[in-house]
């Protein structure tokens, strides 16, 4: 009953004008790539509607949908289980797992998939090993299964991070009571925990969905012909078709975003949040299997590709002694890209956290339609191919000579392009976090006469911070591995680790590529730890 009253009270609140204005401006800026795409469809006589029902589109579209549904389901289950295990149970080694479980996100899929193939496919490291024990069963990763496996392992952190952030903030007293009343761990989880984390789970799953429909690297290497591949193969030879297919992809993304928005309204807010010590659920007999399963995931998603990268790098470092070709890179080729990658991605992540807050408030607190529109625009852009975002940056900056002169090829436009591509990753967890500010807490502070600004800092921010940090962590790692935008939009002479890795693999300099990819993984581990994990632990 109390819940109902506070909710209706909240509903009557009008959103502050400043927030609405900020959200409108953000939405307008974020709409640039989408508007560009629509414009190109009009000017190049594309026929997206006609194409939609042609065989050429339908079969890749069906494959995209198949793959995406499978990946989203498995990443949601995996991410949630891992979050619950590491945050709410007495799982051994959970401290180290908390740091390394988000890391698979940092593998650019074109590197990750190549590394997987290197390790698991015929003639690869794992196969060699299996063969030595005398088993002649070779597994070949490709097609739907290969793409599903690689994408699931590389995207579960989208669910893991926001759900873990949410779990840290939830009171555990209900769980305790449920358990005391004789419920098993599983049924406690289902009845008590799941409803409370639903909005974060949904937000994370949406990110997995959008990531998967827009992925190109993994499906390309796994030879699974999806819509992104059709967009890619036609981009030079038949641009109108490519533009039309991209518009279809973007519409698919928008539909997913709208569905998620409608769904997420159905989950009730938690009544209370405690900042008190979390009581851990004892795993008892499940301890060993749960530990084994968690480490199996780490092994597959992190160690397997890292071994392949390490193998490539070690070959390169050793071959000089064996009289082979020396490494093609010098120390400067490593330091400069590493520094560039680090500061650009950190800056992007921080700005992303700041710009998603107003929209999160409008959506989750005030349920404003302007907020919903901004949310739909910012989130669905995540599914847009990087190449098109890059082209749209040129299209818009070249409209005026001032922008062409002062914005084209600058860091400003690069970071803006990154934000357009990745802010959705900060927005989804931030929305979930704002939605979780308990109404009772707010009402109380309102009654006590705290000012809006003061309330924001003392009441809201501590609750929202873990989710916000988790979101910027996602933006950070995605920005670090971004390729197509970086290649085209970055200033001249602005190498990043990913562009270097791209060049290495493109021309079979695998040792150099392996070495640089290892540095990328290491750098992201360090940065995520400093900026996200350590701080969110500290705050929760």
């Amino acid at each position: 009953m109390e819940f109902l009253t506070s909710n209706s009270l909240r509903h009557s609140q009008r959103a502050p004008l400043a927030l609405k204005v900020i959200a409108l401006i953000t939405a307008f800026l974020f709409a640039c790539p989408g508007l560009y795409l629509v414009w190109r469809n009009i000017t190049s006589d594309s026929d997206p509607l006609g194409l939609l029902f042609s065989e050429q589109t339908l079969s890749p579209l069906m494959r995209t949908v198949n793959l995406t549904v499978l990946v989203t389901l498995s990443a949601a289950i995996l991410g949630t289980s891992l979050a619950w295990l590491t945050i709410r149970t007495d799982l051994p080694s959970r401290r180290i797992l908390k740091i390394i479980l988000p890391l698979p996100l940092v593998f650019p899929t074109f590197v990750g998939a190549a590394a997987f193939i290197r390790t698991l496919n015929p003639g690869g490291l794992a196969n060699d090993l299996v063969e030595k024990i005398g088993i002649d069963k070779t597994l070949e990763l490709h097609g739907l299964f290969g793409a599903w496996l690689v994408l699931t392992l590389f995207t579960y952190p989208y669910v893991y991070l926001p759900v873990a952030a949410r779990l840290k903030n939830l009171q555990s007293s209900l769980e305790e009571s449920a358990r005391l009343l004789g419920d098993s761990s599983w049924s406690t989880f289902r009845k008590v925990v799941l409803p409370q984390i639903a909005s974060s789970l949904l937000a994370g799953s949406l990110l997995v969905f959008l990531y998967t429909i827009s992925d190109f690297g993994a499906v390309q290497l796994m030879r699974y012909d999806t819509l992104t591949r059709a967009i890619w193969t036609t981009r030079l030879s038949n641009q109108p078709v490519s533009f039309a297919l991209a518009l279809i992809l973007l519409s698919l993304a928008a539909i997913a975003v709208i569905i998620e928005t409608l769904f997420s309204r159905r989950f009730r807010k938690p009544d209370m949040i405690t900042q008190s010590e979390i009581v851990l659920t004892p795993l008892k007999k499940w301890k060993t299997p749960a530990t084994a399963a968690s480490w199996l995931i780490v092994f597959l998603a992190l160690i397997t590709p890292t071994i392949a990268l390490g193998d490539w790098a070690a070959d390169g470092l050793l071959r000089e002694f064996r009289g082979g070709r020396p490494l093609f890179i010098e120390l400067e080729d490593i330091i400069k890209p590493t520094i560039n990658t680090a500061w650009v991605s950190m800056l992007t992540a921080i700005i992303a956290a700041a710009i998603v807050l107003p929209v999160s408030y409008l959506v989750a607190k005030y349920r404003s339609s302007i907020g919903n529109t901004a949310n739909a625009v910012m989130t669905s852009t995540f599914a847009m191919p990087g190449l098109l975002i890059a082209l749209s940056m040129f299209f818009w900056t070249l409209r005026t000579s001032w922008a062409a002169e002062h914005l084209r090829g600058t860091i400003v436009i690069l970071i803006f392009a990154y934000l357009v591509r990745f802010s959705a990753q900060a927005l989804a967890p931030a929305r979930a976090a704002v939605a979780s500010i308990p109404a009772s807490l707010e009402d109380a502070s309102q009654v006590l006469g705290a000012s809006k600004v003061k309330r924001f800092f003392t009441v809201d921010l501590p609750v929202v911070t873990p989710g916000l940090l988790a979101g910027s962590g996602l933006v950070l790692m995605s920005t670090m591995k971004e390729l197509p935008i970086t290649l085209l939009v970055a200033p001249f002479e602005f190498p990043t680790l990913t562009t270097k890795i791209f060049h290495s693999f493109e021309d079979a300099f695998v040792a150099e590529g392996g070495l640089l990819a290892l540095i990328l993984v290491l750098l992201s581990a360090v940065l995520t730890w400093i900026l996200v994990i350590r701080r969110s632990d500290h705050l929760a």
């Binding site: 079969s59 190549a114 290197r118 496919n121 015929p122 003639g123 690869g124 070949e140 290497l221 030879r223 012909d225 591949r229 890619w232 193969t233 036609t234 981009r235 030079l236 030879s237 038949n238 070959d315 071959r319 064996r322 082979g324 070709r325 093609f328 010098e330 400067e332 330091i335 520094i339 560039n340 500061w343 950190m346 800056l347 921080i350 190449l387 082209l391 040129f394 070249l398 062409a404 090829g409 197509p484 290649l487 085209l488 001249f492 002479e493 562009t499 270097k500 060049h503 290495s504 693999f505 493109e506 021309d507 079979a508 300099f509 695998v510 150099e512 400093i530 900026l531 701080r535 500290h538």
Partner: protein
């Protein structure tokens, strides 16, 4: 505790600015990278006060030492946007007249044909064009070839006996090659090659060949490198690729890499030479400096870099390929009609898609 990330961030930003001031186009010999220093003969020239902007679809590893050496020897500053040839061509098209690119270097002919079709290419000076045989530049002067990659059949030496190797790509549709051949069907060089194939043998023959290949269980791979790598591991027996990947892979992995190149007879379409081309944009700001850059790619020192460091075929008149490469025969060069490639590309893409190899 809370200020730490800020300190790290600000110190990184400072470092970045410090690094930005150490620009790569230097005018001092001792500042050159090791590989560029091997190319430069003599000292660096004084700053000429000119600048050329290149959009390069050739990767940094393969060409940046040459550009660095050019900057040193001529005193002309060089700015490069690296990327995939196709994406860069699309970018130039999007930028149109206001593109920053003066010179565009492409890995394969397709993107050049695309830009030519959109009237974005200017013409290269006659003196530069005359550095190569006339079949290696466009009659209109819109592009010039500076190095070449040959199409070959890469094969795993443990799984393919020498007497099993075919005399022609046409033999690959034979049942003895069932499920054994890899094709990089969406790769730029493959599409270029297939377009020439159609041009030489007619659409019907070429389409039938590809469909037969698919019926014979040919496997699709996304690019040349992944085929060479897979053949080296034994995942696939053989594949149609560009010649130089195998040299790179063997140089990198040594004897662990179990694949070798096989050259089809020189009159077979399977041994076509694919040209890497340089072009000067219609809108190039400094045409002289641009021509100077393109001609530098054809100097003996640059050509010897291509043949000895990247294992490509040099195309300047009088230059000698690396002795480890098989000798180029007459028919191979000169059969690429760029104009037909640009227009024929769409059709190639359609035939590839309809063959079902992607599924």
């Amino acid at each position: 505790m809370k200020t730490k990330p800020k300190i790290i961030l600000s110190s990184l930003i400072c470092l970045a600015f410090l690094c930005a001031s150490c620009s790569s186009s230097s005018n001092k010999r001792e500042e050159l990278s090791e590989r560029a220093a091997q190319i430069v003969q003599g000292d660096c020239a004084n700053d000429a006060g000119k600048e050329v902007t290149i959009y390069s679809g050739r990767s940094e590893y393969l060409i940046s030492p040459i550009l660095e050496a050019f900057a040193c020897e001529t005193g002309i500053d060089v700015r490069v946007r690296w990327g995939n040839s196709t994406d860069l061509a699309i970018l130039i098209n999007e930028e149109g007249k206001s593109t920053e690119a003066d010179v565009f270097v492409s890995r394969s002919p397709g993107p050049v044909g695309f830009l030519e079709g959109n009237n974005l290419l200017g013409s290269i000076d006659q003196t530069v064009l005359s550095l190569v045989e006339k079949q290696n530049h466009a009659a209109s002067g819109s592009w010039i070839g500076f190095s070449g990659r040959k199409r070959v059949l890469v094969y795993n030496v443990d799984q393919v006996a020498p007497n099993e190797l075919p005399n022609s790509v046409f033999e690959l549709t034979d049942p003895i090659y069932k499920n054994r051949v890899a094709i990089p069907a969406t790769n730029g060089s493959f599409e270029d090659w297939f377009t020439v194939f159609r041009d030489q043998h007619g659409n019907e023959t070429a389409t039938k060949w590809l469909n037969d290949m698919v019926n014979n269980g040919a496997k699709y791979y996304p690019n040349n490198r992944s085929i060479v790598e897979a053949a080296g591991r034994g995942e696939v027996d053989m594949g149609l690729v560009n010649h130089y990947y195998n040299y790179q892979e063997a140089a990198a992995l040594g004897s662990e890499h179990r694949a070798e190149n096989y050259d089809f007879p020189s009159d077979d379409i399977g041994s076509l030479l694919i040209i890497t081309a340089a072009t000067i944009l219609e809108t190039a700001k400094d045409k002289d400096a641009s021509n100077e850059l393109v001609s530098y790619l054809l100097t003996p020192q640059a050509q010897s870099y291509f043949s000895n460091k990247t294992f490509e075929y040099p195309l300047a008149k009088g230059s000698k390929p690396n002795p480890i490469l098989p000798v180029l025969e007459a028919l191979e060069i000169g059969s690429v009609d760029f104009d037909s490639l640009g227009g024929g590309f769409e059709e190639t893409e359609r035939i590839v898609r309809e063959s079902g190899i992607l599924n």
